[in-house]
Amino acid sequence: MKQEYDILVIGGGHAGAEAAWASAHLGASVALLTLDLSRIAQMSCNPSIGGLAKGQMVREIDAMGGLMGIATDNTAIQLRMLNRSKGPAVWGPRSQSDKYRYAAEVQRLLSNCPNLDLISGEVVEILTEGERPAVRGVTLADGNTVRCRAVIVTTGTFLRALMHTGETKTEGGRVGEGSARGLSGCLTRLGLELGRLKTGTPPRLQRDSIDYSGLEVQWGDEHPLPFSYLNEYGQAGRWRPPLPQVPCHLSATNGQIHQIIRDNLHRAPMYSGQIQSMGPRYCPSIEDKVVRFADKTSHHVFLEPEGLDTDEIYCNGVSTSLPADVQERIVRLVPGLERVKFLKYGYAVEYDMVWPTQIRATLQTKRIAGLFLAGQINGTSGYEEAAAQGLVAGVNAAQYAGGKECDFVLGRDQAYIGVMIDDLVTKPPTEPYRMFTSRAEHRLHLRNDNADLRLTEIGRRMGTVDDARWTAFEAMRAAMERGFDLLRQNRMDGVNAMEWLRRSQTDWAGLCTLLPGASAVDPDIASRIEIQVKYEGYIARQDRQIERFAQLENKRIPDGLDFAAVTGLRNEAKVKFAQFTPRSLGQALRISGITPADVTVLAIHMDRSSPRNATGG
């Protein structure tokens, strides 16, 4: 361990790993500090990566040189493309991962990463200096001090973490692990305002104690697509997951179980008042499901293997914080689980988060220069959401540490990552924030198939895309261009081949029977072209619909604008603007409680106050 680094990353979860990886690749000297090195990139909850919108986000991370896609491909034990029956814009890749191999794979990648040290230790204090405070270093629990220019805090659920199983409360962010107690106090001392959120996890069951005979079996796709573009370029659908693929099993709850849950609600921390903080609506505990949807007599239970060599089964669908004895009673009434052995009980965990109104879209805190926050600390939930923020924070911290202005901000029209961060800084989450495709107004453009076309060039400019990826990407793009040339240069049924392919009843296979050159195009490339051609018209229309919004988006609000001095602005708007300090008029409009009239008044003020400001963006 050196005495000085450019950047210290506190926490080794999915945000921390991605942040360290990105900033080290940009040439910064980086140390990742975490309580337990063997837990880096641990999957604390579901042994799964991707899904709808989340899968697109993993593709975006990969397109910019991140590590989540590669690690997922290398450790997947089941791969499925969700929504395959619907249009390609809403396809979402999902994997079951071997959670131990996944963590080991990320640890391997990180330990081979130049400029990066992995250090076991607990940070108790972030040191700052100056009138407008800037990060100078950290103090560890053992009393040592490490100097640095930037800190990225990615502490996940570990800030003042408290686990609940029935009446039992245990300090810690995961079973058998501690809690980062000191850091919360430190963040408060630095002037940051903290909130508290809750999430939960189901029991882990022993594989061999389950009777699979009567259960529905769910396999993955026969010809799965990889997450990483590196495994896609030039492979023409020939990629095969390196690990053997395994199935999941499906069972269900019943009325008897629901009755026991109702009878024991007074012992559930969410209902007894023991937990006050807000949990996610999209991931309800089994007690929530039974109470809120009393008319439903059954809920799905997915039995998902946590790895090839482990006998842990993730009991998906039964997230709970009921007491251990009640958990045993209800789970053993699920068909197939009559004699099941518990390896871990389900629990709810409460943890501190920092209200994301206090960060910019670069994920740097507004108050302290050089202090960046990424992942669950910003109120999100999910590995993918965390990793995406890690990448953004890592790049911006490296820019900051290198003395440059941080400016890595993705637009809502460029990436789900951009949608997420914009949402976070304009609407403080009331529950852990998870990505959904419906959050993206540019959904038809933010697809699983084109994340590299959207983002790899940006990654290349920033320096996170290495030569090997860039070369493969350029070759793919050139091949697509040749495919488009073929369409432009040929006519079918009296129209340009591109127009022909745009029709609703046509496809590439049909093209191949009519146009000799078409079958020579690599199937992956052909599929990309076809998707792009089919959506182009709609995307153009969508863009026009959002045009008005884009004009506002480009109108930058000058830094340090005194909102209190804006004449005609409602008091509520003054307070909100001062609190959120929006970057652009578009962002200002998305702040909750802000009306178009407020933004018009602000725009008038900006136009009037000085010509210098008007050209600021």
């Binding site: 579901n46 991931c283 495709t437």
Partner: protein, 438 residues
């Protein structure tokens, strides 16, 4: 628009009234008011005061409002003067010399809006009231203001939100054991919303039409008494009246108050359709007249009661015939059936005529005010309907993401009237109805 100066205007509706209101708003409003009304209280007040301006002493009600507790949110004073236009013009002239600027149309409302005192729908309602002619229109405008549009449109928007939420749920929660919305059901829902939007449009009047003054044109031979009739109805001299034929050389008009609203009454230049025009000027006049007749909502034939010639012919049928100069009538049987017999000299037939004009000009409205929509509302609703039609057409297709795109666009267009539905609200809708999440 500049919000730093002080503006004034007559804020009561145009036309004769017992009271006329001059409104003054802006930073200097109070100081200006104090210069003619030194005992104006410092707090919000409504009192009779003696005003002194232009060597006049006028007793008037004065309403003093204190920022931000005023309509515009600014310092504001209203003078409720006796209904005398000269008096009002003198006051406004005085205030202008004190530095006040004449308000542009709707500027008080705009200031109220920018000061956060009004939302968009209400602001538009107020703007409509300012421009409304007649009682029915005021009533329609007031309904808009009271949120009737919101009251009718909101349930449709809620149903559309629900349909979109169910579609979005199907996209984002693919692993759920829930059938969110069967396609025939979706189709039925969209068709029902479309029907309701269509009804909303057809049962509403366009505000533009509502606030359009009916144009009534008087047609008759020279010296048939059209100008006299115009002056008689308008209550003041707009046309120079002489016993010589062909005195009226141009299109003359007056605003005439009828019980249901005001009409724009036009007296066209003397027409002698049989003769070819003698000069270019006369040819032009005749062209003007023809256009005025074509564009009018109603054409009234004016004929001297003793004129034995057949009525003058124009390119449209007449809606009403008026026989003038009844005082010159020799035999009572000379009048044509259905014609209204009048005499400006004796006052004969005035009530009859006003009643007939009122009926004709405002016929078909049933006298009952309907919801008034302005151009912006109509356009938003029509665009929303276009997208809904698209969506209904693809309700059974597999391209659910394109269906969602159309529904979203439809919802956004309605959102321009009532406020946009955010993705968070959509998700809230999903989570409140379905047990989502493993």
């Amino acid at each position: 628009m500049n919000n730093d100066d002080t503006i004034c205007a007559i804020s009561s509706s145009a036309g004769p009234a017992a009271r006329m209101i001059v409104r003054l708003s802006g930073p200097a409003a109070r100081a200006m008011a104090l210069s003619i009304c030194p005992d104006l209280p410092a707090q919000v007040s409504a009192r009779r005061h003696r005003l002194h301006f232009c060597d006049l002493e006028v007793v008037a009600w004065v309403y003093g409002f204190v920022s931000p507790r005023s309509y515009t949110g600014e310092e504001m004073v209203e003078f409720h003067l006796p209904g005398n236009m000269t008096l009002v013009q003198l006051l406004i002239g005085y205030l202008q010399r004190q530095g006040a600027r004449m308000a542009e149309p709707g500027e008080f409302t705009a200031r109220a809006y920018f000061n956060g005192r009004l939302d968009l729908t209400r602001a538009e309602g107020v703007a409509a009231i300012i421009n409304a002619h007649g009682e029915r229109e005021l009533q329609a405008a007031r309904q808009l203001l009271a949120g009737e549009l919101a009251g009718r449109l909101r349930p449709m928007m809620d149903r559309l939100t629900e349909a979109l939420a169910l579609i979005e749920a199907e996209i984002d929660f693919v692993d759920e054991p829930v059938t969110f919305l069967a396609r025939p059901d979706l189709r039925r829902r969209l068709d029902a919303i479309l029907d309701d939007l269509r009804n909303l449009l057809s049962n509403s009047r366009r505000f533009e039409r509502l606030s359009h003054q009916p144009r009534v044109v008087l047609v008759g031979r020279p010296n048939a008494g059209k100008s006299t009739l115009l002056n008689w109805l308008a209550g003041h001299d707009r046309a120079i009246v002489s016993p010589l034929a062909g005195t009226t050389r141009d299109v003359l008009w007056a605003e005439v108050m009828l019980p249901a609203g005001s009409i724009h009454l036009v007296d066209v230049a003397g027409l002698e359709m049989d003769e070819s025009p003698e000069s270019v000027v006369e040819a032009q006049m005749r062209e003007h007249a023809r256009r005025a007749i074509a564009e009018a909502d109603l054409a009234v034939l004016v004929q001297e009661v003793n004129d034995p010639r057949p009525p003058i012919q124009v390119d449209r049928p007449f809606d009403l015939r008026v026989d003038t100069k009844a005082d010159l009538l020799k035999a009572p049987a000379g009048s044509v059936e259905d014609a209204i017999l009048i005499s400006a000299k004796t006052g004969l037939g005035r009530d009859n005529l006003i009643g007939a004009l009122n009926r004709l000009a405002f016929a078909g409205d049933g006298g009952e005010a309907r919801l008034a929509l302005n151009q912006r509302h109509v356009q938003s609703i029509e665009r929303a309907m276009d997208h809904l039609q698209q969506a209904a057409g693809m309700a059974e297709s597999e391209s659910i993401e394109l269906l969602a795109l159309e529904l979203r666009a439809a919802l956004d267009h309605l959102g321009r009237i009532l406020g946009v539905v955010s993705p968070d609200e959509l998700l809230g809708e999903i989570f409140s109805r379905f047990c989502i999440g493993k």
